[in-house]
């Protein structure tokens, strides 16, 4: 960071000699001029001689300022009077007109010296301002271009420390999680762990600067007073905490501290206020880049998780295939225990599938492909799938006659939801003859698939829990994976649908799967 940190431009350029030396040199010039005029004093008019002196006074003023100018004016007045005005070699003046010349000369010289002085001062202030603007623009450019956002905060803090009468300049950042403010940068570097004055935060969140007295205690400040006013009006303060605000929000604090009090003039106070704005922008940049890093980290974690799921899925299924195949092969020997092995392998496979799917649903990474689908097709596929595990002949389907019922949903996931509800109903129907009904209907904007059984139903206390993962109606029930209803509800909700439970009049349960319905006109 190459911010020019030399002290503020002085009114006098560094190569100018001290005023007394300059005055001496100019007095020599004055004496030489007096000698020349003395040689022609009989022929020259008083006004001409006065003009020659005036040139010297103006020259001195222009070169060395008001003090030298005024000194020269007085010396010229005396020389003029003593050597060149009759009676010579006295400080008396005979002709009243000569008095007029002398006084006019003195006044002109003094006024000229004063005017020069003012111009020089204005120039110095202008140079000061230019240097300030240049420093600020350099600071701004550097804050934006440093590769690490926190470096910009660091640079600003160093400028604050070198340019302003403070012993310690620090920037704190507020994190969104409400934890204690973090020290982002400090000049000079902190020697120990620094603690943020805790009770100041609420005032700063409101956007008010906070003043800490010599004892380190927060002093009430006048609400609404701006930062320059607070800074220049509190010479006894140990610290002033300036809120760093972007878009009406306090992101952090610029903390200016000096054990011997903060003595700011108005210009320095304004400068501090300006720097605090830069610091706010730099802190905002830190915040944004930390957010980006956080999102990147999340994305990476997500990628790793997906890769892990895919590999777990493969690594678990391959040995299951072998177990199943071997058990199936050995069944030819007549050992019935091998049937159990095969069934358990299949159960394990379903558990793996459910667990993988459930974690994908929960993380929102299960792909959804919603499109037009017929309710009939969904129910048909559900029955087809049941054929593999048994029980399809215990399901009665009621579809309203007439037009096709159409919905907009993801077929595979809707099938999963409906299949889980029907399997759950079959499982809880008391005996093997217990029949399960599936009634499909259109209700306004939704397709409703009601799954009804005559099982024991769900006790009122358990109704809220049954859609939670691994919640079973009874502890002795281990046939399912414990995820069926949870998955059904999650996949239904992921595509704008729902799964609800209510008791069936006369005993049993009704689970209703609702999916968005669609109207079809004019098929091509």
């Amino acid at each position: 960071m190459d911010i020019d940190s030399s002290s503020r431009a002085d009114a006098r350029p560094p190569d100018t000699p001290a005023p007394w030396l300059a005055l001496g040199a100019w007095l020599v010039v004055l004496m030489a001029c007096t000698l020349a005029l003395w040689l022609f004093r009989g022929e020259a008019h008083e006004a001409h001689m006065a003009l020659a002196y005036l040139l010297i006074v103006l020259g001195g003023s222009a070169r060395h300022g008001r003090l030298v100018g005024l000194g020269l004016a007085v010396a010229s007045f005396l020389c003029f009077n003593f050597f060149l005005l009759e009676p010579y070699y006295t400080l008396t003046v005979e002709d009243p007109l000569d008095w007029w010349v002398l006084v006019s000369f003195l006044v002109t010289g003094a006024v000229a010296a004063q005017l020069f002085h003012r111009t020089r001062r204005a120039l110095a202030v202008a140079e000061d301002r230019t240097a300030e603007v240049r420093r600020l623009s350099a600071l701004g450019a550097e804050s934006l271009s440093v590769p690490r956002a926190v470096d910009a905060v660091d640079a600003i803090v160093r400028v604050v420390h070198s340019e302003l009468p403070v012993a310690l300049a620090r920037v704190w950042i507020f994190d969104d999680d409400g934890s204690a403010p973090r020290l982002l940068a400090s000049a000079p570097k902190p020697s120990a762990r620094e603690l943020f004055p805790g009770d100041a935060r609420s005032e700063i969140e409101k956007g008010h600067p906070v003043v800490l007295g010599p004892d380190g205690v927060v002093r009430p400040s006048v609400p609404g007073s701006d930062v320059p006013a607070v800074l220049s009006a509190n010479p006894l303060a140990r610290s002033v905490l300036i809120p760093l605000r972007v878009r009406e929000r306090s992101l952090g604090v610029l903390d200016l501290t000096s054990e011997r009090g903060l003595h700011f003039d108005r210009d320095q106070a304004v400068f501090a206020d300006t720097l605090s704005y830069y610091a706010a922008l730099a802190v905002e940049r830190v915040r944004l880049s930390e957010e980006v890093e956080h999102v990147e980290a999340l994305r990476e974690a997500d990628r790793v998780k997906d890769a892990l799921l895919a590999s777990v899925s493969h690594d678990l299924r391959t040995p299951l295939t072998t177990i199943r195949a071997l058990a199936n092969e050995l069944r030819a020997t007549g050992d019935e225990r091998l049937v159990v092995i095969e069934e358990e392998a299949e159960h394990l496979n379903r558990l793996v599938t459910d667990l993988l799917d459930f974690s994908r649903i929960r993380s929102g990474s299960l792909p959804m492909e919603t499109g037009l689908n017929a309710a009939e097709d969904l129910v048909g596929s559900m029955l087809q799938r049941l054929r593999g595990v048994g029980g399809h002949d215990r399901v009665d389907v009621t579809l309203p006659p007439g037009d096709l019922l159409i919905g907009r949903f993801d077929f595979v996931h809707a099938l999963r939801a409906l299949g889980n509800l029907v399997e759950n109903a079959l499982h809880h129907s008391s005996d093997d003859d217990g029949r399960v009904e599936v009634r499909v209907s259109r209700e306004g904007d939704t397709l409703c698939f009601a799954v009804l059984d005559r099982g024991p139903g769900v006790p009122p206390a358990a109704r809220d829990r049954i859609f939670e993962p691994f919640q079973r109606a009874s502890t002795t029930d281990h046939a399912g994976t414990g995820l069926g209803l949870a998955i059904a509800r999650e996949v239904a909700e992921a595509q704008g649908g729902s799964v609800t439970y209510h008791p069936r009049p006369g005993g049993g349960s009704v689970f209703e799967l609702r999916l968005p319905a669609e109207d079809l006109y004019d098929l091509p």
């Binding site: 895919a310 199943r324 392998a345 017929a374 009939e376």
Partner: protein
């Protein structure tokens, strides 16, 4: 007397290879085995098997590469074994030239049933095709005359439904992806009709199947496509 039948099993797991071989030996006269992709292509070229069972997770090359290589010169049915349960993966396999897929863990019985169906389909495809009527129960489909009858009653099909039925019959017993069906029926058009494919299938079922909720002819492969199954 038919010629001896030959199957090729490609899987890097010896146990799975053995299980598949034992299942296939019920129907096939000889079963070849290999564990690498390059051997699979060489064996397929040298011995011309009637059916190939291919695992996707091979150590040297991706299984899909084997599929594409063999498809360059052979129409022998390929059944893919995959641990991936995602529908998009299955769609990709079918569009790359696989005829069917079985997801792990599979039962040998199920695999044998699929192998039988594929072998029968391949043989049917080799027979000279006549456009004569097809009888399925009391249903008579006459592609030449473009008529469908149930018993004595005519079943009316719209032109689009006819196109869909013809696409199904051309590749009977083979799962066609939604995209493949769409290309076959709406080749010229683009965009939204693909959405209506599911609706047309439902309509066709209502006209052809005795019970549209328990279809026996047009089988849904959820998320993948449809398969027209000829009984027998």
């Amino acid at each position: 007397m038919t010629a001896p039948t030959l199957a090729l099993v490609v899987d890097d797991e010896a146990h799975i290879r053995r299980a598949v071989r034992n299942a296939l030996l019920e129907d096939f006269d000889e079963v070849l085995e290999t564990g690498t992709a390059s051997d699979a292509v060489d064996l397929a070229a040298a011995r011309r098997p009637d059916l190939i069972v291919l695992d996707l997770g091979l150590p040297d090359r991706p299984g899909l590469w084997v599929c594409a290589e063999i498809r360059k010169w052979s129409i022998a049915p390929i059944i893919v074994l995959t641990a991936q349960h995602s529908e998009s993966e299955k769609v990709r396999l079918l569009e790359e030239g696989a005829d069917d897929y079985v997801t792990k863990p599979f039962s040998p019985v199920e695999l044998l049933a699929r192998a039988r169906a594929q072998l029968r389909r391949a043989r049917m495809a080799q027979m000279p095709r006549d456009d004569g009527p097809i009888r399925i129960g009391d249903l008579v489909i006459d592609p030449g005359a473009r008529t469908v009858k149930r018993g004595d009653a005519n079943v009316h099909l719209t032109p689009t439904e006819w196109e869909l039925l013809r696409a199904f019959l051309r590749d009977a017993d083979r799962t066609l992806t939604h995209h493949q069906l769409f290309r076959a029926v709406w080749a010229a058009s683009s965009g939204d009709p693909q959405q209506y494919l599911r609706v047309y299938v439902a309509n066709l079922r209502r006209k052809l199947e005795p019970d549209a909720v328990r279809p026996t002819l047009i089988i849904t492969e959820p998320g993948v496509g449809y398969r027209f199954e000829l009984p027998g």
